[in-house]
Each structure stands twice: as C-alpha cells, then as structure tokens.
C-alpha cells in the first residue's frame, strides 16, 4: 500500500493540470463567444495557415 504515497500525488498532479488548462481557457476568453465558434468552422479562409503558393 506504500505505493499510494506516490500514486495519489501523481494522480492529483495530473488532475490539477486539467483544472489549470480549463482555467486558462476561461481566462483567455474562449467561452465568451459560444455562438460564433460553431460558425467559424465553416469559414474557408485560413489566414493563419501558411499554405505554400
């Protein structure tokens, strides 16, 4: 059962990573426009993609 001493902190650390990622998405405003996001996938212009000419 001594393994728990390592496993539990490891598990908690991974879970905290997930929570941290979620907090980052909230802070960076990714939930501010829930309507727009679903439409943006239909936009053809990929201005940020570097497609070779």
């Amino acid at each position: 059962m001594n393994i728990l001493v390592y496993l539990i902190p490891a598990a908690l650390f991974l879970a905290l990573l997930g929570l941290g990622a979620f907090i980052w998405t909230v802070k960076s405003g990714q939930y501010d426009d829930m309507e727009g996001a679903k439409w943006r996938i239909f936009m053809d212009d990929n201005q940020d993609d570097h497609i070779p000419e």
Binding site: L4, A11, L12, G18, L19, V26, G36, W39, R40, F42
Partner: protein, 747 residues
C-alpha cells in the same frame, strides 16, 4: 455542410446577404468620440453590430474591416454582437470602419460598455471558475470516497482510511472555500438584512458537513461527507451558471438602450467648423447639424433647412411630416431628406428620449418584482428544511444519542434536503426552451420571461408595424407600365422618404437619375433621357388634385399622362391566423393603435379583433396596460414603435419585432426575428410546456425528498447513500429538462 448551404442558411436566418448599404445614425458616422487609446499603444473601438447571424456574416465583417489600411485586428463576437477593432493611432479613420460595416448591410453603432456590465462579465467568469474547481474537487474526492466505501467490510486498514480522509479534506477544504464563495457571500448578505434566502441552508449544509467531516477525520471516525459537500456545490454552481447565462441575454437589452444613448451629434462651432461630440455633452443653446438619417439627440428648434421628419416617436404614425425653420423638434425624431440646423433647447437628460428610457427602466424595475417559480418554491422550502434539521438534532438528543451523533444526523438531513434539484430544475428547462425558441426565430432576452409568458391571459397588440408591415407597399403595381415604374424607381432611389423606398425596393437595384434632387415635403425631380421627370405630391408634380388620398405619389414626365402610385400599409400575412390562435388558447385580444378610427377599425376587422382602442398617445397606451395589470390581468404586449417602448416595459411580458425601433426591442422581453407573427403562438406554447416541465421537476425533487428525508432523520443515511441520492436526483431532473417538449398543436 458546404459553403452553398451556409448561403441558404444565412438567407433563412435573415442575414443581409444582399449586402445593400444601410442607413447609419450620426453616432456611427462619426465614432471618434468613442475611440479609446489603450495601454498597448493601439487605438481601440467597440461597435455594436446588428443583423449578423452566421459564418458568412462573421467572415464578411472581419474581412471587410481587416482590409481597411491601418487596421491591425478586428474581432467579431457573434453572441454579443460586439466588434472590437484595433489600429495604430492615426493610421485608420474610425468613420471608415463604421461605413464599411454599414455598407456590408449591417446596422452599426458605437458601443459604450457600462461599468455594471463589465462587472457582470467578470461574475460570469468567476462562476465558471468556481464550477470548474468544484467539479475537479468533487471528482477527485469521489475517487477516495469510493475506495473507502468499497473497503468498508474490513478490507481497508484503518490507517489507509484515515489517510484517504485526510487527502479528501486536503482537496475539499480549499476547494469549498473558493467555490463556495458565491453562496457564502449571498447568504451572509441576506442574513445581515435579517432574511434567509436559498443560500442560507446551502451554506449551512456545506459548512456543517465540512466541519463534522473534519472532526471525524481528526478523531479517526468512519464517516465523512467531504464528497457530498463539494458535489453539492458543483451541482448548484451548474444551475447558477446556467441562470447567469440566461440573464446574460438580458444584458443585450441594456446594451441596446445604452447604444441609443451613446449617440454623437455634430456641433457647429461659432467659427463654422463642425465637431462630433457625445450627445450627453450637448447644452441648451448649442447649434447642431442633423444630416439625413440622423436622430435628433435633444429637443430643439429648427433654425435652418426644410426636411421630411419621421415623427413616429411622438405620433406613432409612420408617415413623415414636413418640418421647416421655426418648427420645434423633439429628441428621437429622425431627419429623412435634407440637412437641418437646429438649436438645442434642452439637455439629453431632459429630452424625450431620456424620458422614454426612464419609463422603460421604471417598467423593468416593476417587472423585476416578479418572483420566479424556483424562488417561490424556495420560500416555502427553507423554513421546513431548517425545522427538520433542528428537530432531528433535538430528537436524537432526547432519545439519548449524544451530541456527536445528533450533529452527524442533522448534517445528513441538511445535505440530503439541499436543493440541488430545485436549483437545476428551472434553469435547465429554460435554457432548453430558449434554445428552441431561438431556432424558431424568437430571441428570448430573459429566462423568467418564459415563466411570465406562461401565465398571461390578455394580449395587447399595436397596429402599425405589428399587425401590419409598418411600411407602405405599392398596391397598384399591376396597373402601372414597366416603363413608368422604372422611371419612378430612378428618382425614388435618390430619396429616403418611405414612399420612395417602397418604389425603389420593388424595382430592386438599378440606376439613379443623374441630377435627382429632392424637395422636402414635395418630391423628387430629375432628368432621365433628357426629359425632366417629377415624382411627388399631386399639386407639385403638376396634376389636378383628384382625390384626398394622402398616401399617393404622382409620376409626371414632360409631355405624358401623369401616373398615380397608390400605397397601403399591408397586413402581415399571418395576422389573422395569429389572432385566431391566441383566441384558441383562451386569451383575450385587444388592439391599441395610435392611428385614426377608420384604419384602426379596418385593420381590427381584417385581423378578427373585436376590442380596439384608437388615437392613443404613448401615455394612453401605458395607462391601458397599467389599468389591466391593476385589475390583476397578466398582460402580453406586442409592439414595435419607439412610442410603444414604455408600454412594452409596463406589461407583464412583451414582444417586439426585428424591424422595430431600437428602444422597443430593448424594452421587450422577446424579439421575433422574422416577418411572421406565428412564432408568438410557438413562444406561448413552449413557455407553457416549459412551465409544466419545471413543475414536473419540482415534483421529482419533492418525491425524492419524501423518500430520502425520513431515511436521513432516522439515521440511515451514510455518506454513500447521500452521494447516490443527491447525484441521481440531479441527473433525473436534468435529463427531464433536456427531454424534447411535446406541444399539442392548436391551429
């Protein structure tokens, strides 16, 4: 889905795919007063763009604005309609940005966010963070709790169990301290006022459960409620966040009112130069230039110019009047045809528009007193829960169980009765209903508006613009030759007058007579193929006046017979069907019109309405609404004009149309997106179904309590049972909310 489908879809949704330019109010033409210089060295402008609904719209707006030289970044938020633009100061002209958006066919106005709104945005994010933290903690604590429950029959050593309890405490205590803030604060605030709201038993349950569990952990006890306490917070926060999102829709209303006030005016300085200033900075005595399409920001008097003025705000009539030097002008009137110079006689705060805003706000405050179903349930619920917990505590002491055991039982009672299901029941149903109505073309701005709509018994309808299309339509197009129509259209395209617009809209895009010139109050004149042509009033066009038809235009080309264009404000196609549908639902229908008796009676007869009032001023409409509300009626008001806005705000629940004036869209609880009135019936049906569903969910919650509470009171509830009972009731309620509505069709 291909790009082609997107196009079709955007047409269905009423996006301005034609891309025809739209009129811009003064504030939009000169938005410089709203440009902010940010810390990052960029100039920043927020604009409110209306009419955008799909991918094509986002892409058109962003691409169009990004293409302007100097603009660094433009980002459009479809949910809020806010377009944020950044540029290097001096490198781009803010006026060009608004003009670009208006030319794409979207209504645009500068957007001035209030402090209150920024605060609410922050609150929304905070709730989301609390929810995330509570969710994270609940899941991780559950890993330990399940292990403890599984090992309860001696498989787990006591030291391991205590270790697991400590780990749970380590997660639960900080998580609850953070995620519980919304509840603790609200409970504290309400206790200080000497009242108990829903958050008091919630906070008490969470704190008691955590305290008892910590004590148990320290003394090596068997049962802890860390998982239940945090899970409780998680479920409740989901409900809170959904509720906040619903209320977020209301912010749209406040924003549109704000954007009305965030108007600019063109002030004429003594040296003859013109400055764009914010309307609220205007003082009496200022000279203001009003271009065609501008709305007068303040009351005043015309010193120079002659123009047709849209007086809809005052009279509710769509036919414009001629205004000339010396005439008074009131805030909110729209200048249609020619430049006017006016002298301000009042500040914006003292003007009609501000008065209207105050009336709307007063109505909204009154409506704010509406007590939601969930709150009504809570009012009955809170005392019962507290009494139960206290009684079981005393009861177990009397039986001789000892304080420790009695406290554990009381904590269990509080946890099991905690209103997770109640907190989720209403917002979950409303989110679903609002989403469904949005797809059917009804924008719901407030979640509780659906609850209010479900209770109505009386419907008041405005005539012009609501039962009718609110704009003149050429009725004798069949009798007029194509050639004459084309001639008229070439002149009409040069004018903003509603009758000209009707001709131009019918003819579609095309050429304009080269030297077309408009004489306000009379008509348009121009040369087409070398012939002078006039389109306008009979006496002006040179026709012997034959009848008293006010809404007619005459086309007179030199050397030909004059042609008569007759207009009529046509009824909406489904007006009669809607009225019949309302009656079939047991509602009494009444028409309120600012119009004269004859057209009002004619329209009422055509729509099938028996009870009508006509010749009403905006104040009369409010009085009528208030009289009905005073009699205990639940009133739905449907209207569109600026003059309807206060009445819309005064009614129990109100609807407006997408073509309506900004203020009435802002004052209404719901906005119908298309040209049709039938969605009114859909909205009523869905709101009634939603109310039924909410009550059903309350029923589930009550049933669950009836089973679980006796178990808790008599001490059979272990932490495992509490966890299972709590989550299962919440899941049942949520699933029931998500189940599609069944609506029985009545016409």
């Amino acid at each position: 889905m291909s790009v082609g489908d997107t196009e079709v879809n955007s047409r269905d949704r009423g996006c301005p795919t034609m891309g025809g330019p739209v009129a811009m109010p003064g504030a939009a033409a000169y938005p410089s007063a709203f440009v902010r210089n940010e810390d990052d060295g960029l100039a920043h402008l927020d604009l409110l763009v209306r009419g955008a609904r799909c991918a094509g719209c986002i892409s058109k707006i962003e691409k169009g604005v990004n293409a302007i030289a100097g603009v660094q970044l433009s980002q459009f938020n479809l949910s809020t309609g806010k377009l944020s633009v950044n540029w290097v100061p001096g490198a781009a002209d803010p006026g060009l940005i608004t003009r670009t958006v208006a030319d794409l066919g979207y209504q645009v106005s500068p957007y001035d966010p209030g402090e209150a709104e920024i605060e609410r945005d922050k609150q929304g994010r905070f709730l989301l963070l609390c929810m995330a933290v509570a969710g994270f903690a609940a899941m991780n604590i559950m890993l330990f709790s399940v292990s403890v429950w599984a090992g309860v029959n001696g498989e787990m050593q006591d030291t391991t169990r205590v270790f697991f309890h400590w780990m749970s405490a380590l997660i639960a205590l900080p998580a609850a301290a953070f995620a519980g803030q919304p509840f603790f604060r609200s409970a504290f605030a309400s206790l200080r006022k000497g009242k108990a709201n829903m958050d008091v038993p919630i906070s008490l349950a969470v704190l008691l459960a955590l305290g008892v569990s910590l004590y148990e952990t320290m003394t090596g006890g068997e049962h802890t409620y860390f998982d239940a306490a945090v899970m409780l917070l998680f479920f409740l926060l989901i409900g809170r966040w959904l509720d906040h999102r619903l209320r977020g829709q209301t912010r749209l209303a406040a924003r549109e009112l704000l954007s009305l006030q965030a108007a600019t005016a063109n002030r004429l300085a003594e040296d003859g130069s013109v400055y764009a200033v914010q309307a609220r900075d205007i003082v009496p005595g200022d000279t203001i230039i009003l271009w065609p399409g501008d709305r007068a920001p303040v009351d005043g008097k015309i010193v120079e110019g002659r123009s047709d003025v849209d007086m809809a705000l005052v009279s509710g009539e769509s036919a414009p009047d001629l205004a000339k030097a010396g005439d008074p002008i009131r805030a909110g009137m729209v200048n249609l045809t020619d430049k006017l110079v006016i002298k301000a006689s009042a500040r914006t705060e003292d003007s009609l528009l501000a008065e209207l805003t105050r009336l709307v706000e007063a109505g909204e405050t009154a409506r704010g007193r509406f007590v939601k179903l969930a709150d009504r349930a809570a009012q009955a619920y809170v005392p019962i829960v507290h009494t139960l917990a206290a009684l079981s505590f005393i009861g177990w002491i009397v039986v001789g169980a000892g304080v420790h055991h009695a406290v554990l039982i009381a904590a269990a009672v509080l946890i099991i009765t905690c209103p997770c299901a109640l907190g989720l029941a209403a917002p979950a149903v409303q989110i679903v209903a609002v989403g469904r109505l949005f797809k059917r073309g009804v924008l719901v701005k407030a979640g509780d508006a659906l609850e209010r709509l479900a209770e109505i018994d009386t419907v008041l309808l405005d005539k012009t613009g609501t039962l009718t299309l609110g704009r003149p339509r050429l009725v004798n197009a069949g009798e007029i030759s194509a050639n004459s129509q084309e001639l008229a259209a070439k002149l009409a395209r040069a004018s903003r007058h509603p009758l000209s617009r009707a001709i131009a809209d019918l003819a579609g895009p095309g050429g304009v007579a080269k030297d077309a010139e408009e004489t306000p109050g009379h008509g348009v004149e121009g040369t087409i193929d070398g012939v002078r042509v006039r389109l306008g009033r009979a006496d002006w066009a040179g026709v012997e006046k034959q009848d008293e038809n006010r809404s007619g235009l005459w086309l007179m080309a030199k050397g030909t017979e004059p042609v008569h264009f007759i207009f009529e404000d046509a009824m909406r196609e489904d007006a009669g069907q809607m009225v019949a549908g309302l009656k079939a639902r047991g509602l009494s229908v009444e028409m309120l019109s600012g119009d004269r008796e004859a057209p009002a009676r004619a329209a009422a007869a055509e729509a099938g309405i028996d009870s009508i009032s006509f010749g009403l001023t905006p104040q009369d409409k409010i009085n009528r609404v208030e009289a009905l509300v005073g009699d205990g009626k639940k009133v739905l008001m449907i209207g569109d004009g600026l003059n309807d806005a206060p009445a819309l705000a005064a009614a129990n629940v109100s609807m407006s149309l997408a073509s309506a004036a900004d203020a009435s869209q802002a004052a209404a609880d719901m906005v119908l997106q298309g040209e049709k009135l039938i969605p009114v019936l859909t909205a009523i049906d869905i709101s009634r179904a939603g109310r039924g569903r909410i009550l059903q969910n309350f029923g589930f919650a009550a049933t669950y309590n009836m089973i679980a509470v006796p178990l808790a009171v008599f001490g059979f509830v272990t932490p495992m049972i509490a966890a299972i009972a709590m989550s299962s009731s919440s899941i049942v309620v949520t699933l029931n909310a998500l189940r599609p509505f069944m609506i029985r069709r009545k016409t």
